[in-house]
């Protein structure tokens, strides 16, 4: 037994990779404690039933009004939401911040007990609970309609308990172990209602390679990349791709800027032999408006296969067809640096050509977003070799096999 499920799990993974949903479109749930040992579903009534792929939730009285707001972290966009709680309005509360200089200073693991209106409330200070979440260390304790606090005790992480006198409802206190309590001045900064908008798919992507990929000589030939002192832009296009035509016109119009940046343009048509005539006609149209000395290049069957293999390798996402327009920025040393999917902004392009086309770019600066990498992970060249072999690009596969020292 089990084999069926094992395979089912793998099958589901395959469907996911193909872009299908799996238990997606599921709304967040909220269950209200009825106080009698039962809960009632209030997910939709609260409006917290967002259609996000929710992952983490952290509670915190962010605005200082005495009830728990929350941060939600999602897989889908928006990746983050802040929710202001108005549900505690008019009810009593007490808030405590702990410090324990005899144990761990944060007081993680401490338990606060409060008796108010003869009801015993308690809270524990956690560092990490739920899933991938850590909530605020300020413990906010709802006290329903209590007007007076009868008793407060703190059981510190070592199990010893202190009784704390003189605390009042609707106040926040700092409790340092063994010292008199301090009142935390009240604060109430109502945050502004401004809903996080739904994620919108973007038409274009500028995919900067974290680790540049040296292109095998056979791939460079297939992509019509010649030896130049500057960077090369391989602009893939087809006769049916209107945005490609607009883009080529724009590129040619800015020839001077291309020259200034030392950027060499290779307009590479991938229509195939049956539409070569259409492509030539279009190119004549374009160049009659914007004369150029640049020659149109025609890809062969292997060109499409090579681009598909590169895209799949870099993105680890199956490529059914090449999503034109595609532009590839290659540095003078023959390394693939950036893939532009969809229409590209020429100014961005020229800036990239200047940055990536000359000197090596510092790893921390060479990505889409500024930040720092902890791990230096190499490219999965084995995976690329497999893709190239499957595409019958044996010369290129052999190049990478030699590069990684394999037979």
């Amino acid at each position: 037994m089990g084999e069926g499920y094992v395979n089912g799990w793998a099958a589901t993974t395959k469907l996911m990779a193909a872009g299908k949903s799996w238990s997606g479109n599921e709304r967040n749930c909220v269950q209200l404690n009825c106080g009698d040992g039962t809960f009632v579903d209030i997910s939709a009534a609260t409006g917290l039933d967002f259609l996000d792929d929710g992952r983490a939730v952290a509670s915190v009285d962010w605005d200082g009004d005495g009830d728990l707001d929350m941060w939600l972290k999602n897989r889908t966009g928006p990746q983050l939401r802040f929710i202001r709680n108005e549900g505690g309005k008019g009810r009593s509360f007490m808030a405590l911040e702990l410090e324990d200089r005899r144990g761990n200073r944060d007081g993680i693991g401490a338990r606060v007990r409060v008796i108010a209106d003869d009801k015993p409330y308690s809270r524990v200070l956690f560092a990490g609970d739920g899933y991938l979440s850590q909530s605020s260390k300020r413990l906010v304790i709802g006290l329903a309609d209590a007007k007076k606090i009868q008793e407060v005790t703190v059981t510190w992480p070592d199990g010893k308990t202190d009784s704390i006198d003189g605390l009042e409802v609707n106040k926040a206190y700092r409790v340092e172990r063994g010292k008199p309590v301090e009142i935390i001045p009240p604060r109430n900064v109502p945050t502004i209602r401004a809903r996080a908008p739904e994620d919108q798919p973007g038409p274009a992507a500028r995919l900067v390679l974290k680790v540049p990929l040296p292109l095998a000589p056979s791939l460079r030939r297939t992509l019509e990349i010649s030896e130049t002192s500057g960077p090369t832009l391989v602009s893939l296009w087809a006769h049916w791709c209107k945005p490609c035509h607009l883009e080529l016109r724009e590129f040619l119009r800015r020839t001077k800027d291309f020259d200034k940046a030392g950027l060499w343009l290779v307009p590479l048509n991938i229509d195939g032999p049956s539409h070569q005539g259409d492509a030539e006609t279009l190119w004549r149209d374009i160049t009659s408006e914007v004369p150029t000395e640049i020659e149109l290049q025609f890809g062969v069957q292997q060109t499409t296969a090579a681009v598909a293999a590169l895209l799949e390798h870099v993105r680890e996402k199956p490529v059914d067809s090449i999503p034109l327009p595609v532009n590839l920025l290659i540095s003078p040393d023959g390394q693939l640096q950036i893939i532009y999917l969809g229409p590209v902004d020429v100014d961005d392009l020229l800036r990239d050509a200047t940055t990536y086309g000359r000197n090596a770019v510092q790893a921390s600066k060479r990505f889409q977003f500024e930040g720092r990498w902890y791990f230096r992970v190499p490219r999965d060249i084995e995976g690329l070799i497999e893709l190239l072999k499957a595409a019958e690009l044996d010369d290129a596969a052999a190049f990478y096999e030699n590069a990684v020292g394999k037979p």
Binding site: M1, V57, Y131, T155, A194
Partner: protein, 583 residues
């Protein structure tokens, strides 16, 4: 580039990585199974029936989604002319007033009642009486059970949920369990002949109790539009896939006062290629991202994160789970960090949730890190599926102050039952003996509950009654009944399809009953374990009505209405993709 400073001194010897069947052979099986995602291509008759009945109920939902007085009239298409529906909203019911929230609870309507009760028109009118006809109703019916009666008749169990508005402006929500009997008519149509209700809860609450203020707090468009606005579906294919692809979205959050100004800040982990964010709260409640200058804008996929005072110097240090390494960044007191140590496990499995507590009572915080899959989803296959014991090891790292951290997993007895698929852990002194105990939530099987006996751990999950063999994803503790002891809520998977199939008599007929019940348990939903006060927990999940948490990640207790009783928030949903044809 930061080098790895510190390798765990005593790596745990792990069982061999599971060796799946030859890839080619498995691909063939996978292809055969992928075609089965379409219910009509399946040889499960009941799945076809569930699908057809579901389509009828979707039509009903569409009618309710339109405002208008003719709602009930138009709903009658669903019912046979002689349909009987029991009194689903009897006069006698249980009413609860919880602050400004009103809850009406209705119980079972019996078959005999149904036979003598009113017709579909009057029952539907009563059912929807608190919904304003001028407002749309969003209704959903989840089929969780199917039984074929004969060639012309079958029954389904549905969870019914609806939300709309009362004429007084309050939100109205229904949650109910119904059994619907269906008849196939001669012309191939499906009609409901019978409706039996197990329960119905109606909630009325004022609107705008929870307000999405995300962009009111994160005003800076430079961090919103190019980054946080988009989810993994967007980034997958737009980021170099070196390292872990930006796809699953297992990236956590941690709240803490990073710069010591008395205001809580939040650290936000992100997937590969997106820099983690350190959102520092300003006096007006808005945030500024200081991750870059603070030295913590990690671009690697980061999962669990914690803000805790590791060195007891009075500021919040940062722990990040980056791949198989827990990275400690030390706060200099001003909110800027220096990476101090990378605690790297001996095998490549990534760390997921982290949890900190002082387990040995020496006055500093120790760290427990959960690990889930040895390699990646779909490659590391859990075996056996319902009780998997071939996962990577979790680690307990003892804080030895200036000497760093030591891996004491084996030394303290936490190597027992330590090959599960762990997603989360919580430290809690449930027995109040002055040391924290550890609950570990595991996918594909049993959870662990390690009692701390003065620094040595014993797994007492079975004897305490909290093994909760299921697809566990998170846990949270609170005294839900104000009896002084701590109760446990575990988030699990809830799958309608899993429930439908796993309870069929033809499902796993050759399987032994523990296997069968294990698999059935797998998709049952969330669990609530109430502490009896004597170290034993009672499973009250059904009675407390907490099962339906959907694809629940880390549900967390939080008191939403300051009545002192902690409620539950359940982040939800696994993978929503471009194609909406959900599996």
């Amino acid at each position: 580039m930061v080098t790895v400073w510190f390798v765990l001194a005593a790596p745990i010897a792990l069982a061999d990585d599971d060796k799946p069947a030859a890839i080619a052979e498995r691909e063939a099986v996978i292809d055969a199974l992928t075609t089965k995602a379409d219910p009509n291509a399946d040889d499960w008759t009941t799945e076809i029936l569930a699908d057809k009945a579901g389509n009828q109920l979707k039509k009903l939902g569409k009618i309710w989604a339109e405002a208008g007085a003719k709602r009930v009239e138009e709903s009658l298409f669903l019912f046979a002319p002689d349909t009987k529906i029991g009194d689903i909203r009897p006069e006698t019911n249980e009413t609860k007033q919880i602050g400004n929230i009103t809850v009406y609870r209705y119980g079972t309507s019996t078959a005999s009642e149904a036979a003598s009760a009113g017709d579909a028109r009057s029952s539907l009118t009563t059912l929807l009486k608190n919904f304003s006809p001028a407002k749309p109703i969003r209704a959903k019916f989840k089929t969780v059970g199917v039984r074929e009666v004969d060639a012309k008749h079958f029954e389904i169990d549905v969870i019914y949920q609806a939300v709309g508005q009362h004429t007084d402006g309050r939100n109205v929500q229904h949650t109910g369990d119904w059994t619907l009997a269906w008849k196939k008519t001669d012309d191939g149509d499906l009609k409901v002949t019978f409706l039996i209700q197990q329960r119905l809860d109606e909630v009325l609450m004022p609107p705008n109790q929870f307000v999405d203020c995300t962009r009111g707090v994160i005003k800076d468009d430079n961090i919103w539009s190019p980054q946080l606005a988009h989810g993994c579906e967007y980034w997958f294919g737009r980021i170099d896939a070196v390292g872990e692809i930006n796809f699953m979205g297992h990236n956590g959050i941690a709240v803490g006062d990073v710069n010591g100004d008395g205001l809580d800040d939040i650290y936000v982990a992100q997937g590969t290629g997106l820099p983690n964010k350190l959102l520092i709260q300003q006096p007006d409640g808005t945030v500024k991202d200081t991750a870059l200058q603070a030295g913590v804008a990690w671009l690697d996929d980061t999962k669990g994160v914690l803000l805790v005072d590791i060195d007891n110097d009075g500021d919040q240090d940062l722990l990040c789970a980056i791949g198989p390494t827990i990275v400690l960044c030390e706060n200099d007191g001003s909110g800027e960090f220096r990476p101090r140590r990378g605690m790297r496990a001996s095998t490549p499995a990534s760390f997921y949730s982290l949890a900190a507590a002082d387990y040995d009572g020496d006055g500093d915080l120790d760290i427990y890190g959960c690990r889930y899959v040895k390699l990646s989803y779909g490659v590391s296959v859990p075996v056996p599926f319902q009780d998997a014991n071939n996962g990577p090891a979790n680690h307990l790292l003892r804080n030895d102050g200036k000497r760093g951290f030591a891996d004491v997993t084996r030394e303290v007895g936490l190597h027992i039952n330590n090959a599960r698929f762990s997603l989360a852990a919580t430290w809690v002194d449930y027995d109040e003996d002055g040391d924290p105990d550890l609950y570990v939530t595991n996918d594909f099987g049993r959870n662990n509950f390690y009692r701390n006996d003065g620094g040595k751990f014993v797994d007492i999950a079975a004897e305490a009654g909290v093994e909760d063999q299921a697809a566990g994803m998170g846990a949270s503790w609170a005294d839900i009944d104000l009896d002084g002891d701590l109760d446990l809520y575990v988030s699990n998977m809830f799958s309608s399809a899993g429930r439908r199939i796993a309870y069929q008599s033809r499902f796993l007929p050759e399987g032994s009953s523990p296997v069968r019940s294990g698999v059935q348990r797998h998709s049952l939903g969330n669990s609530l374990f109430v502490n009896n006060g004597d170290g034993i927990f009672e499973d009250r999940s059904e009675r407390a009505q907490v099962r339906l948490g959907r694809w629940a990640w880390g549900a967390r207790f939080t008191d939403l209405n300051n009545d002192g009783y902690e409620d539950v928030v359940v982040p939800n949903g696994f993978l929503t993709n471009l194609y909406k044809d959900d599996l």
